[in-house]
């Protein structure tokens, strides 16, 4: 270990060119770079290089000479923004984006609303069974998205579902959960089921950090538990709501495995249901990696803009509140 460190110091220390033994200060100066070396190498290989390559691909296309046979008949040539304009004008991509938007409009508010509600209930006075229910609600986090989608997928199938059994007995209409509008609800439900517990824990942990004195004051003012929750607890956990909102939006934009898993169970999930599924389809089924790369870059940019924009807005909002 030590010799390896020395060697790497030799390299790092070269610019300083001290022939004398390294001083504490020098060691402390080069140490962080040494500690960050593994992360840097991994980042270069598995993040920077692929991103650069994706951008390069997105700006190129394949040109086929003649019949496209033999070596050198297919070569990659500069395409400029052609792939991007193709992607942006592709109606299927737009449709996929709208589907994911609709899906996100259900998932994010419902999931975070439930997470906040459960966190507040866990934090309420004289609540019973809190540890058990907390664990039960958190449990879905441990279940892979693919398996969650399978479990719910089966529960949506009329042949095996208890819901349909009950509806049948009650003589009520039995909607097809895997088609049209209900499909959004079916998919959203899987995400809500899987994500509520984790977000609940994050919010609950923030609630626990509120100092007791804050409640004393509220109690003296005769605030009801509901008033305390709305006027004190929710504003005080606003930062963790921002954080959970942020991560939920990113996760929603990237939805892939749940609709992919439901696909074998229904015909109404197309292979290009979400933009990421379309990217996969273009790259690996159609073999058009260049336009897939362009679409991928667009999705990444939208994600970055949305998330930074959101963080910015949230930050300035918090500062305003702090100033008041």
């Amino acid at each position: 270990m030590t010799s390896a460190r020395r060697r790497s110091y030799g390299v790092k220390g070269a610019p300083y060119a001290h022939p004398s033994p390294t001083t504490t200060l020098d060691r402390a100066r080069s140490a962080p770079y040494f500690f960050l070396l593994p992360a840097t190498i991994l980042f270069a290989l598995f993040f920077a290089l692929p991103i650069g390559y994706a951008i390069w691909l997105s700006l190129h296309k394949v040109q086929v000479k003649g019949l496209g046979l033999g070596s050198g008949a297919r070569k990659e040539v500069w395409a400029g923004l052609e792939n991007y304009t193709d992607s942006l004008t592709d109606p299927e991509l737009l449709a996929g984006a709208l589907r994911v938007l609709g899906y996100g409009a259900i998932v994010v508010p419902v999931m975070l609303g439930l997470a906040l509600l459960f966190a507040l209930m866990l934090d309420a006075d004289r609540v019973r069974l809190a540890p058990v229910t907390r664990l039960a609600i958190f449990l879905p986090y441990a279940i892979p998205g693919v398996v969650a989608a399978m479990l719910w997928g089966f529960l949506y199938l009329p042949d095996v579902s208890p819901f349909y059994f009950v509806l049948d007995r009650l003589g009520m209409p039995q909607p097809d959960l895997l088609d049209g509008g209900p499909l959004y609800i079916a998919l959203s439900n899987i995400a809500v089921w899987g994500g509520t517990g984790f977000n609940m824990i994050v919010i609950y942990t923030a609630l626990q950090a509120i100092p007791a004195e804050v409640y004393e004051a509220a109690k003296l003012d005769g605030a009801t538990p509901l008033q305390t929750a709305i006027r004190i607890k929710i504003p005080m956990v606003a930062p963790s709501l921002v954080l959970t909102f942020f991560f939920s939006i990113i996760a929603t934009l990237q939805v892939f495995s749940e609709p992919t898993t439901l696909k074998p169970l229904t015909n109404s999930v197309s292979t290009t249901w979400s933009p990421l599924m379309k990217v996969y389809q273009d790259a690996f089924r159609k073999g058009d990696i260049h336009s897939a790369a362009a679409t991928a870059v667009i999705i990444a940019l939208v994600t970055l803009v949305l998330s930074f924009g959101f963080l910015r807005a949230a930050n300035s909002r918090t500062k305003q509140e702090a100033a008041r």
Partner: protein
């Protein structure tokens, strides 16, 4: 956690003597919160309860008997699953354990090194490095996965264990958590005292700082373990040889075949149940070690 219990108990106990205007005994349990939480718990346990019962049903019972009525085919289902393609199911489980276990371990080590460096040292480019790493969180996995696949193909590494393992070792989220945790758990003067004693920086890290960081690193490990175990996209793209599949991908291919042959449904269902068991067990045992305060601490900074 325990501090909360104390905080909550104190005012409640204080009000007990003055029950004159207090609520009658029956209302001692807060009904609305308790019932709300129970409904939430039932909703979350419902699919799990379903899969437990469905896995006991034989192929014909699955479609003919009431959903929540236990069947008689559990041992038979397990036997079928064991027999399916010479026990490839258990191969998938083993693969998942390998990907998640080794992947999370490597990831924790890398996160510990980086998080410590970012928290303890002041050096040029520190914030830049940190922000670039964080931007990695925002990268949709598929954006990375396509070029990763193509680059792996150039290096002749696709369809190998490494192709699924290596891209997940650097976890921006893990680095982020490790940084916050070492900033909170490792006091600067302890590091300085180590230097005074002439210990090398690496020795200070491994002997002094690392033990202090263990609770936080357990959290990083668990997050990463769950993330890798639940990962679907990367193996879906990288692997074609089903001997190397993790359990998520294996079950998915089983379901894909099963959509044409409902006879495979019982295999999928039994497989899904057994795939859930290890992670749930891990959770029940380990949840007390989770320091999720880390997350809310992260929010405040």
């Amino acid at each position: 956690m325990s501090s909360l219990a104390v905080r909550k108990a104190a005012p409640a106990a204080g009000t007990t003597p003055g029950t004159a205007q207090g609520p009658p005994l029956r209302r001692r349990i807060a009904f609305v919160p308790t019932v709300t939480l129970l409904i939430g718990a039932i909703y979350c346990l419902l699919p799990v309860a379903w899969v437990v019962i469905a896995a006991t049903k034989s192929g014909s019972e699955l479609f003919s008997t009431f959903t929540f009525l236990p069947g008689t085919g559990f041992t038979e289902n397990i036997r079928d699953l064991n027999a399916y393609r010479d026990g490839v199911y258990w191969k998938w489980m083993g693969n998942s354990a390998l990907y998640a276990g080794l992947g999370a371990l490597l990831s924790t080590v890398v996160s510990a090194f980086s998080g410590y460096a970012l928290a303890i040292y002041r050096f040029r480019g520190r914030e830049t490095v940190f922000n670039i790493l964080l931007a990695g969180v925002l990268m949709p996995p598929v954006i990375l996965a396509i070029p990763q696949y193509l680059l792996m193909a150039k290096a002749d590494l696709t369809d190998s264990y490494a192709s699924v393992l290596l891209p997940l070792v650097l976890s921006p989220y893990g680095v982020y958590l490790a940084r916050i945790y070492s900033a909170a758990a490792v006091p600067a003067d302890v590091v300085e005292a180590g230097r005074m004693d002439g210990a090398s920086e690496l020795r200070i890290f491994t002997r002094i700082a690392l033990p202090m960081m263990v609770p936080g690193l357990v959290t990083v490990f668990l997050f990463q373990f769950v993330a890798v175990w639940n990962n679907f996209l990367l193996p879906y793209i990288m692997l074609s040889d089903d001997e190397k599949f993790p359990i998520t991908l294996g079950l998915f291919t089983l379901l894909e075949q099963g959509s044409n042959t409902p006879a495979l449904y019982t295999l999928v269902i039994t497989g899904a149940l057994l795939a859930v068991v290890p992670l749930v067990a891990l959770f029940l045992v380990i949840q007390r070690f989770w320091s999720l305060d880390l997350l809310s601490g992260a929010v405040k900074s």
